[in-house]
Amino acid sequence: MSAISEFGVILLSAVLVNNYVLTKFLGICPFLGVSGKTETAIGMSFAVMFVMTLASTASWLVQEYILIPLDLLYLQTIFFILIIATLVQFIEMMIHKVSPVLYQGLGIYLPLITTNCAVLGVALLNVQQENTFMTSALYGFGAAVGFALVLILFSGLRERMEGAPIPDAFKGSAVSLITAGMMSLAFLGFSGLVKV
């Protein structure tokens, strides 16, 4: 398989087939937390894309050039969390400067990207799958795009549900989770699309 088509397969797999939110159920917290408004969701998507792509490349570098040579694999989680936390702090300051409204809109969920299990999950899976530098960057980016895709789609659906006379028992998280479940079922349609 040529390099380009391999990259394509990795992207497709990370975005659609093995979507982190809908098939691996990682990153559910921001998925439910910041999907109330499309604008906020788009902001969050870019933030996560930034963090995830950089985190997966940085963690690959750390893994390859610090942890393995020094035989410190048991420090993997701490190192990765450190990387992610730094990146999140960085983007938090940046968003606060660039868009105070988005900063307010994201609220607590912005620093919580640190504990977004999808980010750590991507970093860990990357080293587990023994990806190369390029593929891990691509994988991180693809996973982030997949996260962004479903987050934005979901925010659109939730905005539409805003004015609906949803039965009291299902208002709020209940109907959101049902919708997410339905999206997850629909994404099952992509299963088997690429064999990785």
Binding site: V62, F79, F90
Partner: protein, 192 residues
């Protein structure tokens, strides 16, 4: 032992690098002032009435921006102001502290006015004119209905009267149909 040294050193070094990066970033992205409170201030009705417990609209805006107070203390702004601030801040709307009232303006019963100028001093928007020992009059177009002039008046000659409804300002109410009521219910549910 050597292993432990490597671990400590590498982690320490890495943390140091991260710290330096963040320190530089915080310099680069340093923010002057608070753009958020400007935005909130623009949403407030500027009655300067002090019913929120702050000495005017700007201080209240600053307090909201810093997260010190809830968004539901502005009485004259009513529900719409509360909802738009809550929307801006990305917080859950809260019920208003007090019920909204009809818009009013102050009116001085001129035959009773003794011309003490106390109300003129109290008015936050300079909407009362008059000189010492002369009748005072409220400029109805500028009065915000803040009622701050009632208290200082020694002879209680100021009334709050309902703002006259103008034909040009009339607007269609929501249709009195099924879903309009649902919408109203939904808005009411913010109150509980």
């Amino acid at each position: 032992m050597e292993q432990l040294l490597y671990a400590t050193l590498s982690l320490g070094a890495f943390a140091l690098i991260a710290g330096i990066v963040l320190a530089i970033a915080s310099k680069v992205f340093h923010i002057e002032g608070d753009p958020l409170s400007d935005k909130i201030d623009a949403l407030l009705p500027q009655t300067q009435c002090g019913q929120c417990g702050f000495p005017g609209c700007r201080p209240y805006a600053n307090a909201i921006a810093s997260g010190e107070v809830d968004v539901n203390h502005c009485v004259p702004g009513g529900e719409r102001t509360m909802l738009s601030i809550a929307d801006l801040m990305g917080v859950e709307p809260k019920a208003l502290e007090e019920e909204e009232s009809v818009p009013v303006v102050a009116f001085v019963r001129e035959d009773e006015c003794i011309g003490c100028t106390l109300c003129i001093k109290a008015c936050p928007v300079d909407a009362i004119i008059g000189a010492p020992k002369q009748y005072h009059t409220v400029i109805a177009d500028h009065c915000t209905g803040c009622v701050l002039c009632l208290e200082p008046c020694p002879v209680d000659c100021i009334d709050m009267i309902q703002k006259p409804e103008l034909l040009e300002h009339w607007s269609w109410p929501l249709p009195d149909t099924q879903r309009a009521q649902l919408g109203a219910e939904r808005r009411e549910s913010h109150h509980d």
